[in-house]
């Protein structure tokens, strides 16, 4: 069987598996967030943190909860790393340096999982399990909560209440992420992923680091986190031992962002509204897969930096899945990709992580984009614009604009400053256009909370630790606050009835409009920068 056929079979298998769980998981998630009862574990949590689970919050309170919880998480994670030497299972790896500790804390709380450290030599098991893995769960649950709050903004009418952040956070963790992650951790152990509390095993006289990988591997992918327990990430045989584990991991990456479109359709009372979002996400994702695949298959150095165990198709598939979902796990070194292939992975992130995007973040990002697209489209049908029965006025457009604006601003400013810093050439593996691609990739990855690395750039300096940390924070929380503000504005409105004059948002016309907007916004913003990096490379 040729590599191409095998690759196509994998894609087909992936789509089939996603198709099978689409309805049950999507509907289950919708039920989780609209349930009025609380289970025993949840009630215990609410008692512990003294939250009344039946009281609902305004958008500002909700946003305050998200910010407070996240910044407390950063502080805690920073502290854990700084006192690692007194924690058990540290294997003498010592306290983490302040710059690195800040960067890592920010990275895991923002669901970025950018890793400026080498796990095997820096992090002990305690920080991994109590710090990083906990954030892998709750940062994903936070994304889900924000997405749900925005959906409620569309669903509800004439209220200023968007739900309760603490309830959404707890339910996402307890009822969705924990059970699914547990199930798949077992499955991954079956496929051969390592689960060990030892620091390493002795192989022919040299020590190979091990860790409790499988349990983290599942949530690393499921929560679109991407932070590997081992430095080589999913290119490491202990994290990703076989073709089957590779496919399972890709499935895990995509499953929640994909199925969430079903939950969305269910919650807004029109499943087609969800299908159309999925259609846009899937089309763009598949298109980028084709670009990366073809570029890598026909590149000058087709095998350099690739995972030879899996071959080009599986590498391309993983690269597309990880950059299209803000996961950032890698099973190959993207730095070694061709100009076009690496540019494809880069563009996938610059779309703003909505194809299908991260857990929760993908849904709220594409909904914000839909607001912008419907504003122009709505005008062109001769009405003041509306989407899902809500008018898009001054406040709605302002919130959506801020949400959309945050990522490009952070990427361009960060990369721009970095390009002219005197220390930059020394941090790059390659000069010229490829070096610029490395810089752009790093800032795109941080600002989109992706976390994948081009790996051709040394980011241990204080400038990178600090600037990328700030990019992660702004890239995560500015859109979140803006999306919640948008949700608040939408929930206050009454519903506009659907008439023949309403532009239907379920057909191919809306799908192409939305997809076009995603591509257009990214293209118009980044073409000048890309011209000097990947485009110049690709045309060489």
């Amino acid at each position: 069987m040729s590599g191409t056929v095998a690759g196509l079979l994998q894609v087909a298998l992936l789509f089939l598996a996603l198709g099978l769980v689409y309805r049950p998981l999507g509907d289950y998630m919708a039920r989780v967030y609209s349930d009025t009862r609380h289970n025993r574990v949840e009630r215990a949590v609410y008692r512990l943190v003294r939250v009344d689970p039946d009281s609902e919050q305004r958008w500002s309170t909700y946003a305050f909860g998200v910010l407070g919880f996240s910044f407390a998480g950063i502080a805690l994670l920073y502290l854990l790393q700084r006192i690692q030497s007194i924690l058990p299972f540290d294997f003498g790896r010592g306290d983490v340096q302040p710059g690195m500790a800040f960067n890592t804390a920010t990275s895991f709380v923002t669901n970025t999982n950018w890793q400026s450290y080498v796990p095997e030599t820096v992090m002990g098991h305690t920080v991994q399990l109590v710090g990083l893995t906990v954030q892998n769960f709750v940062s994903a649950a936070t994304g889900l909560a924000v997405a749900l709050a925005l959906v409620r903004g569309f669903v509800r009418a004439r209220t200023d209440r968007l739900g309760n952040f603490w309830v959404d956070l707890t339910r996402g963790t307890v009822r969705i992420l924990l059970p699914v992650a547990f199930l798949f951790a077992i499955l991954l152990i079956v496929t051969g992923v390592v689960m060990s509390f030892k620091s390493g095993v002795d192989v022919d006289g040299s020590t190979v680091a091990t860790a409790p990988v499988a349990s983290q591997e599942a949530i690393k992918e499921l929560g679109t986190n991407g932070g590997g327990v081992l430095n080589a990430n999913s290119a490491h045989p202990f994290e990703n031992p076989s073709g089957w584990s590779n496919l399972v991991e890709i499935f895990l990456i995509a499953v929640i962002p994909v199925c969430l479109t079903r939950s969305f359709g269910t919650l807004v009372g029109n499943r087609k509204q969800g299908y159309v979002l999925l259609g846009v996400m899937g089309t763009l994702w598949t298109a980028m897969l084709a670009v990366i695949w073809v570029a890598e298959a026909h590149g000058l150095r087709p095998l350099e930096g690739k995972e030879l165990r899996f071959g080009i198709p599986s590498t391309a598939l993983f690269a597309d899945a990880t950059t299209g979902t803000s996961t950032g796990a890698v099973n190959a070194m993207h730095d070694s990709f061709t100009g076009l292939g690496g540019g494809g992975a880069l563009l996938n992130m610059l779309f703003g992580e909505m194809t299908p995007g991260g857990v929760g973040t993908g849904l709220y990002s594409i909904l914000v984009m839909a607001v912008i697209a419907m504003f122009l489209a709505g005008l062109m049908v001769g009405r003041t614009p509306e989407y899902l029965g809500k008018k898009l006025g001054r406040r709605e457009v302002t919130c959506a604009a801020i949400s959309i604006l945050a990522m490009p601003a952070v990427v361009l400013i960060g990369a721009g400053i970095t390009a002219v810093l005197p220390g930059t050439p020394g941090a790059l593996n390659n000069p010229g256009a490829h070096g610029l691609s490395e810089i752009l990739y790093a800032f795109a990855s941080a600002s989109n909370n992706n976390g994948s690395a081009f790996a051709g750039i040394t980011v241990a300096s204080d400038w990178f630790q600090a600037s990328l940390g700030v990019c992660m924070l702004l890239g995560r929380f500015v859109p979140i606050v803006a999306a919640l503000c948008l949700a608040g504005a939408l929930a206050e409105q009454r519903k506009v009835p659907v008439t023949a004059g309403t532009l239907p948002t379920t057909g191919p016309l809306f799908a192409s409009l939305l997809g076009g907007s995603v591509v257009l916004v990214a293209a118009l913003t980044f073409v000048p920068a890309l011209a000097l990096g990947p485009i110049a490379e690709a045309l060489q």
Binding site: R383, A500, T502, L513, L539
Partner: protein
């Protein structure tokens, strides 16, 4: 008044909302205004154009410091970009000013005959009148200010305001009591209570409106401006960040080139035309003799979900069509028909014409008067007698309202029966030598206007529900509703029912438009989202509505909805066009900037532009000229055909999206052919 064209006939089906006249001369006339608007205080109100303005200043400084043909040319064309944007606004405002000018001419300095408290009269200048002053106006005099007739009845020539030459009746009490300052009383004498201060009269407000003096940005305009500002910030960042990337790549760019790129990328086309589109939308209403008190109302018109239409006069002709003759006493049908025809031959009113028509089509009489009949002396309708007719050789034939005649029991019954059915009875009588005989009754009844069914179907396709409101009994209402093809009807409607219906619709999130003229309508007009008051109506109605139709033609509501939609579509289409243009500009400018450091980027120069300088200059020139080219479109509005939302979007995306991608490729290529000939550029 000459500039106001009166559109007496309803617009034909599917016809584009007609263009206002746009002459290239207007561009030249507006140049001084456009130059005046170069002041930064004016520019800062438009964020997109303010960025261009700052860029122009910046490039000018460089052009002065290190002059070269290229730098000077870019500076000049950047200033042209700002100027063209000003020009668009000035032209739109100029058209309003012309209308205001002709309105001002109607403001005659009338002398008012004010009634003192003791009942005597004094002469005061019209400008000294206060609210609640009582004035007397007699035939031939100009009404000195806006007010309500409190005593008397008169015919008034309102052509100065409405352009309609036929006089109208104004009387105390009822719904026809409002008079407008500047109009002339033609007959009789009325006492008027002044309701507006000098300077705040209807005409004054009209002048302020069409001049755009009180123009404020509408909600949708503000939202769009926010979106355009966001785009501007995105491009500002993209261009500013480009310099460090260029420095890194070893190809530092000049400020002139970066500014040129920025100006080309930000949405200058829509930024320049946005306010002109808004002004022109109001202007298109004025051309149809509709005055909107706010741009917000025009926008709301595009959003309307439910139209409340009064049956009479809107859906039907009103009780103005003769549908039958009923002879009384011993009169034969032939005698009645002859008399009815005779009395109506000289009667130019719709009722009169319809009577003759019925005589012709139903009873085979001649349509034209014979020579003998022409010798008769026509007796015109007056407000007091309420009858008209003809005196022909000692024979006096009259027709008129039942109240003007002495009726027999039988006639009274017929008259009452016709009234009960919702029709209007006209009594025909003849007197020869003092002998006064009632011959019979003409039944005028409601007839649905032709083409209404198609119109309502069209509205339905646009997502607009029509509700017919009538005082008729449910049976009659239902029959007419079915015949006209409205979606719903409200029978035996009282003003409070109308108000309740509007509230109910709005409760469901729908926007409601209605027309009204009576004082009774005022609460409903105020409650509705688009309330069009008829100019013939009361002051209260005019105050309550947010539009006034000078022609008092209720069918115009449909027209108003179209104009509202067209305004919004124009905004969306030009924004799409503006953004779509950027693709070609990237293809023109990026290779020009970076082919020196990355020769392979030269492959992106698909237009084959001559040199980096000519490419950049051509993009800048195109960016400026496209504004001027689109001014007529902005003023006229894009083509609008009522159809489903999807069809509209598909069409506009094709024309303005795809068209916006393709046009600049051709335009920049053509401009480059000329620009390359300039020495120092090519």
């Amino acid at each position: 008044m000459t500039t106001m064209t009166r559109s007496s006939e309803p617009q034909a089906e599917n016809q584009q909302v007609a263009a206002g006249v746009f002459a290239p001369r207007q561009l030249l006339d507006s140049v001084p205004d456009a130059l005046r608007k170069l002041h930064p205080r004016h520019q800062v109100r438009n964020p997109v154009m303010f960025v261009v303005w700052v860029g122009s200043v910046l490039v000018t400084v460089f052009a002065v410091a290190e002059p070269s043909v290229f730098t000077v040319a870019v500076a000049v064309w950047l200033w042209f970009t700002v100027l063209f944007a000003n020009l668009a606004e000035a032209v739109a405002e100029g058209r309003g000013k012309a209308q205001a000018e002709s309105l001002r001419r109607t403001k005659k300095d009338a002398v008012a005959r004010r009634i003192r408290e003791d009942g005597t009269e004094e002469l005061v200048p019209g400008a000294d009148l206060r609210v609640d002053d009582l004035v007397v106006v007699e035939a031939g005099e100009v009404i000195p200010g806006d007010g309500d007739v409190v005593a008397g009845i008169a015919t008034v020539d309102e052509s100065a305001i409405t352009g309609e030459s036929a006089p109208v009746i104004r009387e105390s009490g009822g719904d026809r009591s409002a008079v407008t300052g500047g109009t002339t009383v033609l007959s009789d004498r009325v006492e008027v209570r002044i309701t507006a201060k000098p300077g705040e009269t209807f005409v004054d407000r009209m002048i302020a409106l069409v001049e755009g003096a009180q123009r404020q940005k509408t909600p949708n305009e503000i939202a769009l401006t926010i979106l355009l500002s966001t785009l501007t910030i995105v491009f500002l960042l993209a261009v500013v960040a480009l310099q460090p990337f260029a420095v890194y790549s070893g190809g530092e760019q000049s400020v002139v080139v970066l500014t040129a790129l920025l100006v080309c990328l930000i949405p200058t086309t829509i930024g320049a035309l946005l306010s002109a589109i808004g002004i022109a939308g109001m202007d298109r209403l004025v051309q149809r003799n509709v005055l909107a008190t706010s741009g917000r109302a025009v926008e709301a018109a595009g959003d309307v979900n439910t139209l409340l239409l009064d049956k009479t006069g809107t859906i039907t002709w009103g009780n103005r069509r003769a549908t039958g003759f009923i002879p009384v006493g011993g009169t034969s049908m032939d005698a009645l028909v002859d008399a009815a025809r005779l009395s109506s031959l000289a009667d130019g009113t719709p009722e009169g014409r319809s009577i003759v028509e019925l005589c012709v089509t139903g009873y085979g009489r001649a349509a034209e008067a014979t020579d003998h009949e022409k010798t008769g002396e026509a007796v015109p309708f007056t407000a007091q007698t309420r009858m008209s007719g003809i005196d022909l050789g000692g024979r006096e034939v009259r027709k008129g309202a039942a109240s003007g005649f002495v009726l027999t029991e039988q006639t009274r019954e017929i008259v009452d029966e016709i009234s009960a059915d919702g029709g209007t009875p006209l009594v025909v009588a003849e007197s020869t030598g003092g002998d006064h005989t009632v011959l019979g009754v003409i039944r005028l009844s409601d007839v649905v206007k032709p083409g209404m069914k198609e119109r309502f179907a069209e509205l339905r396709a646009m997502g607009i529900r029509t509700v017919m409101v009538t005082g008729d009994n449910p049976l009659t209402a239902k029959a007419i509703a079915a015949e006209a093809g409205v979606d719903d009807h409200l029978a035996e409607a009282k003003p409070e029912d109308k108000l309740a219906l509007i509230r109910h619709e709005q409760e469901g999130g729908r926007l409601v438009a209605m027309t009204g003229d009576g004082t009774n309508d005022a609460p409903a007009l105020a409650q509705s989202d688009v309330g069009v008051a008829m100019n013939t109506g009361t002051s209260a109605a005019k105050e309550a509505g947010n539009m006034v139709d000078l022609d008092s033609d209720p069918t115009k509501l449909i027209e108003i909805v179209r104009i509202g939609k067209q305004l919004l579509i124009t905004r969306g289409a030009l924004t799409t066009f503006s953004v779509a243009n950027d693709l070609a500009k990237y293809f023109a400018i990026l290779p020009a900037m970076f082919a020196a450091i990355h020769p392979q980027l030269g492959g992106l120069n698909v237009m084959g532009l001559h040199s980096p300088n000519s490419a950049i200059l051509s993009a800048v020139v195109f960016n400026a000229l496209i504004i001027v080219v689109l001014i007529p479109l902005a003023l006229r509005g894009v083509r609008y055909r009522p159809s489903s939302a999807s069809a509209l979007l598909r069409r506009n995306l094709l024309v303005y999206g795809v068209g916006g991608v393709v046009t600049p490729f051709a335009g920049i290529w053509l401009i480059d052919l000329l620009v390359r000939l300039i020495p120092g550029i090519g």
